[in-house]
């Protein structure tokens, strides 16, 4: 049963990702991405990561994609829709991607499944993932968490400086 659902989600994620790249209409691309994000959330759920699944939907599907849609609608991309081929070098990109896929498949063999550290599947199941994540994030990973907040601060400063500041003439 688990394998079936995983297979379904995996195939859907791949299919949607390809459609994101292939769609001529930018709005269709974004909507395909939305579908993909839902399926990624599904994979998270199967991994007992309900918090990640919820954030995936709220943050990515909810906030970021809506922003994407706004931007695309503001841009008015009617002319771009008629362009036969957006990128000229796609065969090179495709062959590179295929080569990468082959290498990754070859490397798959050296993955090994082992339970690591104190957060085994059973422990996470018992404490629930939200609680476990919160605990780890605010104790063991406090430093990365704080640095991430600085990264966000810089992003905000950047947005203000680049978009909002009046130019001196």
């Amino acid at each position: 049963m688990v394998e079936f659902f995983f297979g379904f989600f995996a195939i859907m994620i791949l299919f949607c990702s390809v459609m994101v790249v292939m769609s001529r209409n930018a709005i269709h691309s974004v909507l395909w991405m939305l579908v993909m994000f839902f399926h990624v959330a599904g994979v998270y759920l199967m991994l007992n990561a309900e918090f990640l699944a919820a954030t995936q939907i709220i943050v990515y599907a909810g906030a970021i994609l809506v922003l994407f849609l706004f931007v695309i609608m503001l841009l008015n991309l009617r002319e771009e829709m008629n362009i036969e081929q957006l990128i000229d070098g796609w065969p090179a990109g495709l062959s590179l991607a295929v080569a990468m896929l082959v290498v990754l498949i070859l490397a798959l063999g050296s993955f090994s499944v082992k339970p690591w550290g104190q957060w085994s599947i059973e422990v996470v199941e018992k404490t629930t993932q939200t609680k476990a994540l919160g605990k780890v994030l605010y104790t063991e990973y406090l430093l990365p968490f704080e640095i991430a907040s600085l990264v966000l601060l810089v992003a905000i400063i950047g947005a203000v400086v680049l978009a909002k500041k009046k130019l001196k003439s």
Partner: protein
């Protein structure tokens, strides 16, 4: 609360706090150069807490050791010099905003975190903090299309390289179950797998992008040319040194057992980088573009230090970056001086007959060009000498010979600038110079240091050796 547990990270905390203070000061202070001065004072405050910071914190995620402290001093020098050369330049470019200085401080903070990180997640976040700040700084002259282009290109390719770095990190995590750089070595137990090779390749690509190793250097000329010149100077030294710090830390501690594997990759990239940097620099007529290719070439030399490895190689690499900071920012300071109202001053043509019209500027440029070529008695010579000595000592004499050959090629384009200044007659209107006290101070510091490092380098060399321990 026990304050001693956060002692190792105190310099970073002070830097973060002062960067926020500088950000707020922008609201109240109208003379923006005051903010620049404050940024320099902040560096002084941070350096003051550094001596007490030695130790490890956050479960071994973060360490303050000689290695990281040495790099932090390079970042501080980079920040101070970049602020000094920015003050007048920003006015000329009409982009005088206080956020500029605080973003520079945040970028420096990111570099400090990278140098001190002993955990791959912390390393990644430090890199991202540094990169995000520099993307914004590269596009700081908003009304200039080239600056916009530089920021956008840097951002897209930078995001790509971050993704590759994360890919590498996840692979290492999948293999070892840890992101701690020290624990990685003990978990891997020297066992080579296909996946590990991939992880190493990804890490080399990601760091290579930040260092601008060929063939991941494509962004460098465009970004360096388009970005504000002061920022070009800033990012040709700081982020590069930070990526070198991370490369050295990850490869010579976490992945030291696989040195024969990554050494081969780095040797190939180093030779390619020296070739691409030095040969393409010859065709450039824009001095910022030429210095961009020159910075690619210098990255190729510095990688030799990592390849040679050991205390000898790493300290040679650190020294080289230390010296490079002075000579490169010095050269950019002269370039900035030629940028006056209405004249870009970036073309080689602008240097025609500079020795006649502005002898002092010409002499300074001469010193920096000599140093970048590696001609004694300048610092550049000492840097290269110890780098090549380390290579010979580690049994890579042939690589040192290759590097020397490329250094000779590099003389062509560095000395061409000198030739334009001294052998050509000035044409048309004599070029004006935009001098100012801070810029003069930056030039004074860089010139003195380039010469002192060339004539009497032993205290600095000893410092680097001591830092390695």
């Amino acid at each position: 609360m026990d304050i001693t547990i956060i002692k190792p990270i105190l310099p970073e905390i002070v830097m973060a706090a002062l960067a926020c203070v500088v950000l707020i000061l922008e609201l109240f202070i109208h003379k923006k150069e005051t903010i620049g001065v404050f940024a320099i004072l902040a560096v002084a405050a941070v350096s003051y807490v550094i001596p007490q910071s030695f130790g490890s914190a956050f479960n071994g995620m973060f360490i303050s050791d000689g290695y990281s402290v040495f790099f932090k001093f390079i970042f501080f020098i980079n920040l101070i010099l970049a602020v000094l050369i920015s003050i007048r330049y920003l006015k000329i470019e009409r982009s005088e905003f206080g956020e500029y200085y605080s973003l520079m401080m945040f970028a420096t903070l990111g570099m400090m975190i990278m140098a001190s990180a002993t955990d791959l997640i912390v390393l990644y976040l430090g890199l991202e903090l540094m990169a995000l700040s520099t993307y914004i700084l590269a596009g700081f002259i908003r009304h200039d299309r080239r600056s916009n282009e530089a920021a956008l290109k840097y951002f897209f390719l930078g995001a790509f390289s971050s993704a590759i770095l994360l890919y590498g990190i996840t692979m290492i995590y999948a293999l070892t179950g840890t992101t701690n750089i020290l624990a990685i070595a003990s978990q891997l137990q020297g066992k080579m797998t296909t996946q590990l090779i991939l992880a190493i390749v990804f890490l080399v690509v990601a760091f290579g992008f930040k260092i601008a190793l060929a063939p991941f250097h494509m962004w460098t000329p465009d970004v360096y040319e388009g970005a504000p010149t002061s920022i070009t100077a800033f990012m040709s030294v700081g982020p590069k040194a930070a990526a070198f710090a991370a490369l050295g830390r990850v490869f010579t501690t976490g992945l030291i057992d696989f040195a024969p594997d990554w050494r081969g990759i780095l040797i190939a990239l180093s030779i390619l980088t020296m070739a691409v940097g030095n040969i393409l620099a010859i065709q450039q007529s824009n001095i910022k573009r030429m210095l961009a290719y020159s910075s690619i070439a210098h990255a190729g030399y510095a990688v030799i230090g990592v390849i040679a490895g050991g205390a000898e190689g790493l300290s040679a690499m650190m020294n080289y970056l230390f010296i490079y900071a002075f000579m490169n920012i010095g050269a950019f300071a002269v370039v900035i001086m030629l940028r006056v109202e209405g004249v870009k001053g970036e073309e080689l043509e602008h240097y025609r007959g500079l020795a006649k019209t502005h002898p002092l500027a010409a002499v300074l440029m001469l010193i920096f060009m000599f140093s970048l070529t590696g001609i004694p008695p300048t610092g550049g010579f000492i840097g290269k000498f110890y780098l090549f000595k380390a290579a010979v000592g580690a049994g890579y004499a042939w690589l040192a010979v290759v590097a020397v050959v490329f250094s000779v090629i590099s003389a062509y384009f560095y000395l061409r600038v000198v030739m334009y200044m001294y052998m050509h007659e000035p044409e048309g209107e004599p070029a004006a110079l935009a001098t100012s006290t801070p810029l003069g101070l930056a030039l004074l510091i860089t010139t003195i240091m380039v010469i002192v490092l060339g004539v009497y380098p032993s205290p600095f060399l000893a410092f680097a050796r001591l830092a390695i321990g």
